[in-house]
Structure formats: structure tokens, C-alpha cells
């Protein structure tokens, strides 16, 4: 016999379980209401250059969703929220929520992605006075462009002040969307929560922020109230070890402090760009690869970009394939100057069969074939717990990964064969290191390595190289911890190109693991 379900509004020491997911429209609505226009959340193009690969859900939107899942509290007012943003939330993922409400004055909501804790929000309430009045919130036009403060600008004692007010119509829509009207939070409370998101995402530090922690205390609304709301935020500390910014701030209505906040946010560093100069230092020019025709699948960023530059620096004609990162691809093309080989941009989806057929036909018509095929593309990689409920994501990742290497190979192996070309697959040292939360990534790389062995057996004229680089310094690893011990992409690219320049390569599949 099962336990009876608690009725809505009842409290139990047992956590209540539910789910929540976010859409792109939810992010747009929160952004419009809060004035937080940080591009990490609303620009796919910008998000692709970050470790997250795709837009991240506003942490504070997660907190509002959590608040909306609490029991109604007509006789309480929110006094304090304490938030830990443990891991970034993504669009379209059904998160499991555990809602604990041991008393009417305390509630804890935890977001899980399967077993992984993503967000923890602790809400504290106090009794609401019968004569409590609600302060109307006034709309204020705020900056639409996020500040871009680097760590050298983040000096303790620096203050930022201004006026703040959410967009009223959109605020009402957010309150309706997340069912916030009976949860002990007034429009002013929700505005203060949005203000914290605005301050971190737009002001201190702005664009580079990854919100980590928040302590937000709401003050009784018993003083004189004036609009618009004004804020005053001060940098307390910038922790160089963790790239962690600690700020404190107040939101006031005239002389009355409405909310006091203590905020911590990581400050992301610049996207690492491969350096042609560093490459040419590592890789003196030789004649071995001069005049060769190369195609780099996924060549606009990270290791793919460095391989593109390295091959061009050896006199190759390199076709740089990219799917969406036009700005980055153009930057790599123009980085070459006029001294070396050439780079031609080739936009397209490598997992599109028709696109690959067209590329093959064009290469054969123009050059009679292909000398070097480098398969480097991968879908964005997020940690994925290995549990049954995440298996659909696991399969999607595997299918996409295999398609991004397998379809180009299926179209182009026959173009490599007559020229005794190279079929190169960028795998990873993780196929041996086996990191705990990347089972999908390890499986995909091993599957494609298997395909490389098959290709080597059935296209013996084609040389095969599997590359297993260690953790590299790329957009994907550009986080506080991720950068530690990461190898520069130029070093890995130079080792790969050195191997390809070997005049007498051995038969069978070669594996490059030493850099």
C-alpha cells in the first residue's frame, strides 16, 4: 500500500517531487521583464563561444520557478532567499524538483538533472501584517547592453549605482507564467530578485558573469516609499584563484532599503584563440605538405581552427568547414595574411548527406580528389548522468557525433583513396581516462574509432590517424577549473601536422597520443 499523496497546500517533512523545464520563450520573457539582456542567455551565437555551447537559463528564472512550486502562503511574506547555482540550467531539459516545506516559514527547493544537483534555493518567510501595503513598482529604462568588465577592472571598493525597475507588463506575465501571486512574494520582492540578476548579468561583472551564489534579504515595507527604485552595489573582493567576484548591494525606495544582496559570480575569461605565431614557432615550414588539399570538418574554433592554421602554414589549401560560427571562421581565414597557403571557408552541416555529396563533387571537379580529411566536429558536450531517464539524450548525442564524422567519411574516403590521402579523426584521451559524467562522449569517440578501423581495412590506400589529445584549452574548457592543466591547442595541432608530414607513414590505423 502506497503512502497517500499530500494535498496541495499541506506541509510534510517528506520532499514533494515535481518537474520543470524551460523554453526559449521563457528566457525571452524573463529577459524582457528583468532587463537582464546578458547574451549568454539570449544569444545562440554568443553562447556557442562559451563553455556551455548553447543559451543558459537565467539562474533567477530557476529560482522563480522554484518559488512557484511552493504551497500558497497568503499570511506570509518572503524575508530571505539563499541560492546556490550549482550547475547551469539548459533549455528543454526536464529537471526534477524536490520541494521541502518543513514549516510555513521555511522551504528548500532542489533542482536535479537526474542525480546531479543543479540549483538549491532556500526560502525564509515571516508572518505578514494585516495592514501590510504593497509598494507599487515603477518601470525604468535600463541599459540594454551588458557591461564587459575584465578582472583587471574589478577592484575592491568600486561602486556602481543607478535606477532600476522591471518592465511592468512583462513582470505581470512572469508572475502569471510561474504562478507567483500567492507565494508570499510581492511585486517588489520579485523585482528585487530580478534586480540581482540584472546587477550581475548587466553591471558587475556583466557579460562575462556566471552567477554562483546569492543571499538576498528583504526588509519590511514600513518606511516611506519612493519610486523609482535605486541601487548601490560595491565590489568586496575579486578572488584571482577562482575568478570569483564578490559584491554587496542595496535596492532602495527613497530612504527605505527594500532589499540587501550579497552576490558571487564567476567572471569568464576571453575565449581562447589559436595563435598563428605560436604555431609557426612550434612548426617550422617544410615542403612535405605543400600544395595538398585539406578539408577540416569543424575548423572554426579550438583545435580545428589551430589545425586549419597549421596546415595552411605548411602550404596546404585548406577548406575550413563550419556550421554556424561565421565570425570565428572569418577570423581564422584572415589571420593567415598573405605569406602562407590558403584557407577557403565552407559553410555547411557536416551531418547533411547532400552537403557532403556536393563537397565531394566540387573537390573532384576542382582538384581531382582530396589529400587530407580531418574530422573534428562534435555536438556541444554537457555532463550526462548515466541513468535510464537520460538515455534519450545519450542516444541523440551518439547519433549526432557519429553522423558528424561518419557522413563526411562515407562521402570522401573514395576521394582520398586515389591520392593515398589521410583520414584523420580527432578522438580524445578521455577514451582511456573515462571521466565519470561523460559516458556519451566516451561512447561516441569509441564508436567512431571503430569506424576508423573499418575504413582502414576497406580503404587500404588511405592512411588512417586517430588523435587522442588530452584536455585542451578551448571554449569548451574555458572555466575556472577547466583551464587548469589544459594543453594549448597549438601544441596539439603542431603534433598532428608533424605526423601528417611524415614521408613514409606506416600501414593500418596510427594512434597519436603523445604531444
Amino acid at each position: 500500500m502506497g503512502l497517500p499523496e499530500p494535498s496541495p497546500g499541506s506541509r510534510s517533512s517528506l520532499p514533494r517531487k515535481t518537474t520543470v523545464s524551460f523554453t526559449t520563450q521563457d528566457l525571452a520573457q524573463f529577459s524582457a521583464a528583468s532587463r537582464d539582456r546578458n547574451p549568454l542567455h539570449i544569444s545562440e551565437e554568443y553562447a556557442r563561444t562559451t563553455p556551455y555551447g548553447e543559451p543558459v537559463v537565467f539562474g533567477m528564472l530557476g529560482v522563480l520557478a522554484a518559488l512557484g512550486r511552493l504551497s500558497d502562503r497568503h499570511d506570509r511574506l518572503l524575508q530571505r532567499i539563499s541560492i546556490e547555482f550549482r550547475n547551469p540550467l539548459a533549455v528543454g531539459i526536464p529537471y526534477r524538483l524536490e520541494v521541502s516545506e518543513p514549516t510555513t516559514d521555511r522551504a528548500v527547493v532542489k533542482f536535479y538533472d537526474a542525480t546531479r544537483l543543479m540549483l538549491k534555493a532556500t526560502f525564509t518567510f515571516v508572518p505578514r501584517h494585516e495592514d501590510a501595503r504593497e509598494t507599487p513598482v515603477q518601470e525604468v529604462a535600463c541599459s540594454a547592453e551588458a557591461a564587459d568588465l575584465k578582472k583587471e577592472n574589478l577592484l575592491a571598493g568600486t561602486r556602481v549605482t543607478g535606477a532600476y525597475g522591471p518592465a511592468i507588463t512583462e513582470l505581470a506575465e512572469v508572475i502569471r507564467r510561474w504562478e507567483l501571486s500567492q507565494k508570499g512574494a510581492t511585486a517588489l520582492h520579485i523585482s528585487a530578485m530580478m534586480w540581482a540578476s540584472f546587477v550581475v548579468g548587466m553591471e558587475l561583472p556583466g557579460k562575462r558573469a556566471v552567477f554562483w551564489r546569492l543571499e538576498l534579504t528583504f526588509h519590511p515595507e514600513d518606511g516611506p516609499q519612493e519610486n523609482p527604485l535605486r541601487y548601490d552595489v560595491t565590489i568586496q573582493d575579486f578572488d584571482e584563484r577562482l575568478d570569483l567576484l564578490h559584491t554587496t548591494g542595496m535596492l532602495s525606495a527613497g530612504p527605505t532599503v527594500c532589499a540587501a544582496a550579497e552576490m558571487w559570480a564567476f567572471v569568464r575569461q576571453d575565449s581562447p584563440q589559436p595563435s598563428l605565431r605560436r604555431l609557426t614557432d612550434l612548426l617550422p615550414r617544410s615542403e612535405q605538405l605543400k600544395g595538398k588539399i585539406a578539408l577540416v570538418i569543424g575548423g572554426s574554433r579550438g583545435l580545428g581552427a589551430a589545425i586549419t592554421q597549421a596546415l595552411a602554414s605548411q602550404g596546404c589549401t585548406v577548406f575550413l568547414n563550419y556550421h554556424q560560427c561565421t565570425t570565428e571562421a572569418e577570423r581564422i581565414r584572415t589571420s593567415l595574411g598573405s605569406t602562407f597557403g590558403t584557407i577557403e571557408l565552407l559553410q555547411g552541416d557536416a551531418s547533411d548527406i547532400q552537403w557532403c555529396r556536393t563537397v565531394r563533387q566540387n573537390l573532384i571537379e576542382r582538384y581531382g580528389g582530396l589529400d587530407l580529411l580531418i574530422c573534428n566536429a562534435s555536438p556541444p558536450i554537457r555532463p550526462l548522468p548515466f541513468v535510464p531517464e537520460k538515455f534519450a539524450q545519450f542516444q541523440d548525442f551518439l547519433a549526432q557525433s557519429v553522423a558528424m564524422a561518419g557522413i563526411p567519411m562515407s562521402a570522401l574516403l573514395s576521394a582520398l583513396a586515389p591520392r593515398s590521402g589521410w583520414n584523420v579523426f580527432i578522438s580524445s584521451a578521455f577514451v582511456k581516462d573515462l571521466p565519470p559524467e561523460w559516458p556519451h562522449y566516451v561512447t561516441a569517440k569509441c564508436a567512431i574509432e571503430g569506424l576508423m578501423h573499418w575504413a582502414a581495412a576497406h580503404y587500404p590506400q588511405v592512411h588512417s590517424l586517430i588523435v587522442r589529445p588530452p584536455k585542451l584549452l578551448t571554449d569548451q574548457t574555458n572555466t575556472t577549473v577547466g583551464r587548469q592543466g589544459a594543453m594549448p591547442v597549438e601544441q596539439a595541432a603542431a603534433a598532428i601536422v608533424n605526423r601528417l608530414a611524415c614521408p613514409e607513414p606506416s600501414q593500418g590505423v596510427q594512434i597519436l597520443e603523445a604531444f
Binding site: E84, R86, L117, P436, V481, G482, Q484
Partner: protein, 78 residues
């Protein structure tokens, strides 16, 4: 509260595990979920709880919980 119990409480919060029990021999591989994000949370949690500050990657270089406890004592953890 004894240092061991306070440290255990920090670990329980960080790893979201109310039944986690620390022993001196435990290492990072013995604790489920000790990834890069958890590492930063742990570092921050220990610093806040004990009023100390790690230099660079000091925490990652410790071989087990026993060594971490000795370190905290040597640092005059509050």
C-alpha cells in the same frame, strides 16, 4: 562542534548527501560527485566555515581527508 564534525557538515552540504561520513583515509575518488564544480564549492565551503584561505590548488594536492584535517589545524582553523 569538533573540527571533524564541522568538516563533515561542509561535505554533506556540498555533496548533497546527509548520510556522508568522513574518514581520514577517504580520497576524492571515494566521494560520489567530486567533480570540478563540487571542488570549487568545497573549497569555498571550507574557507567560509573555518576562516582560512587555500593557496592556489592546495586543496586538490592533499592526498586524503586526514591530511586536510591536519592542514586545517596547522592553519589555526577557527
Amino acid at each position: 562542534m569538533e573540527l571533524h564534525d564541522r568538516l563533515e557538515e561542509v561535505f554533506r552540504q556540498v555533496f548533497d548527501n546527509e548520510t556522508l561520513t568522513l574518514t581520514d583515509e577517504m580520497t576524492a575518488t571515494d566521494i560520489e560527485g567530486w567533480d570540478s564544480v563540487a571542488h570549487i564549492n568545497l573549497m569555498f565551503g571550507i574557507e567560509q566555515a573555518f576562516g582560512i584561505r587555500f593557496k592556489g590548488n592546495e586543496l586538490a594536492e592533499m592526498k586524503n581527508i586526514g591530511e586536510l584535517k591536519h592542514f586545517l589545524v596547522d592553519k589555526g582553523a577557527r
